[in-house]
Symmetry: C2
Subunit: 309 residues, 2 copies
Amino acid sequence: MAGSAAPELKHCDRPLCSVSARGLIDSVDAFLFDCDGVIWKGDELIQGVPQSLQLLRDMGKKLIFVTNNSTKSRKQYAKKFLELGVDVTESEIFSSSFAAAMFLKLNKYPCDRKVYVIGEEGILEELEEAGFSCLGGPEDGKKNIVLKSNFRFDHDNNVGAVVVGLDQYINYYKLQYATLCIRENPGCLFIATNRDAVGHLTDLQEWPGAGCMVAAICGSTQKEPIVVGKPSTFMMDFLIERFQISTSRMCMVGDRLDTDILFGQNAGCKTLLVLSGVTSLSALHDPANNIHPDYYTSTISDILELSKL
Amino acid sequence: MAGSAAPELKHCDRPLCSVSARGLIDSVDAFLFDCDGVIWKGDELIQGVPQSLQLLRDMGKKLIFVTNNSTKSRKQYAKKFLELGVDVTESEIFSSSFAAAMFLKLNKYPCDRKVYVIGEEGILEELEEAGFSCLGGPEDGKKNIVLKSNFRFDHDNNVGAVVVGLDQYINYYKLQYATLCIRENPGCLFIATNRDAVGHLTDLQEWPGAGCMVAAICGSTQKEPIVVGKPSTFMMDFLIERFQISTSRMCMVGDRLDTDILFGQNAGCKTLLVLSGVTSLSALHDPANNIHPDYYTSTISDILELSKL
């Protein structure tokens, strides 16, 4: 990279300062927060989060939580917020599990057809809440296959959509089931909750994300999915419709460049990268990186800390 | 596809006939056969195979078996041939499991570093036969993870290569292990035995192939692998060196366009597609297909049947 001054000059990533923090707060009506790496890491709350969220609420800001993590439903996320002592209601939460269900609903997916799920409880709960019948999920994590002569692996011909999300119980049974549905059921939809490569599923380290399971199914079917989570615009279109706030009056706060920041930028929101999750300062400044937020800072509590200086 | 006569005119796939069969036999010294879908389907031999191979041997042709299926070692394949009543020796077999071991050996991979394997016995056997120490494989198929606070998943920092092949015991433990090695061990190699989307692992149907597991690791690491099996030229370069036969005097016989036929064509071999495996006549003639063998026919027994007419 010798002599590579040019890429750094092309875009100056700006650390949030007291002036820009006040400007940001004044210029938006809603803050959209990613959760993993922004609000918490695994089951550990990131320092200063409850106070910061409360202060933003006190200032009249609308708070919306937009997570690609599909392992929980909105109901389960509301419970998690409560357990962590953060006051957030189900109606403020938009998970990719919910987005998958809304995608099928808005596209009038017939309720008499089934949905096969590679993923966890969150997807099943949201699909069932929306009136769809599901197969797969954790249940199929217990199933084994013995590859032998004259054995035929049967799948339900009435599956018209496969939803793939993060699944820590992924196995060959599920991979074959999903592959058969997509390859053999005419018109079967292939929906990905998101394509995050890795995520902070525990506080201490990152783990393969939905991008791993989605890629596996791309590999066996040679098809590309419809992505409903960030950075796809599906969830944002849904949010705009629901809250009737102009995207120019929103700020997307996240820890991932390729999902959160891109999601915000695609929609015309202001964007703030926090370094409390998967993105390091060196990754942000890497000349190979071409996604640049309006501002970056350490954690969300800086927004208010800085604005008071 | 209305009015799409042009793509069909661009390339006329030719069915093997008596004249071309005789011409083919006369013009080559060696036949390279894929196995799954050509010699057998699962554990069922395809009709007429033993007789056809014997007759080609009687005519002085060299026979070489080149399979992307990494679940077995050459030794295990020789045993399978024997059990099916086909006279093939270990030295005639080139599996992608062997190719992975040879790739490391030819690239002077240090024997004091370990290799992590997503795959089955075949890869472990070949790596160990070549003098390498392995981790993973079937053993790790039994391991579970509980994602909880303060839990750190440790991996061996001395792993310098990850080999990924077909693995019916794929699980989240292996996905995380391989991902950590590739992302965190400096210079760690990511080697794929092959990228076949599906394969005839049983006689009655296709199953997700190594392409599924390889894609999963691409998804979580955002890296691309070194592919050692078909259609990569690594195996062919090795064969040419070993047998000292000009590729223009070889015919590659296979059931897959994107691996077998492409592999043969990349090397300058003659190519024969058999329709006894994953490729249908309509897939061959699909205007979207741009891989065309010199000839196609139903099964390998046609080579001799037709030549006698």
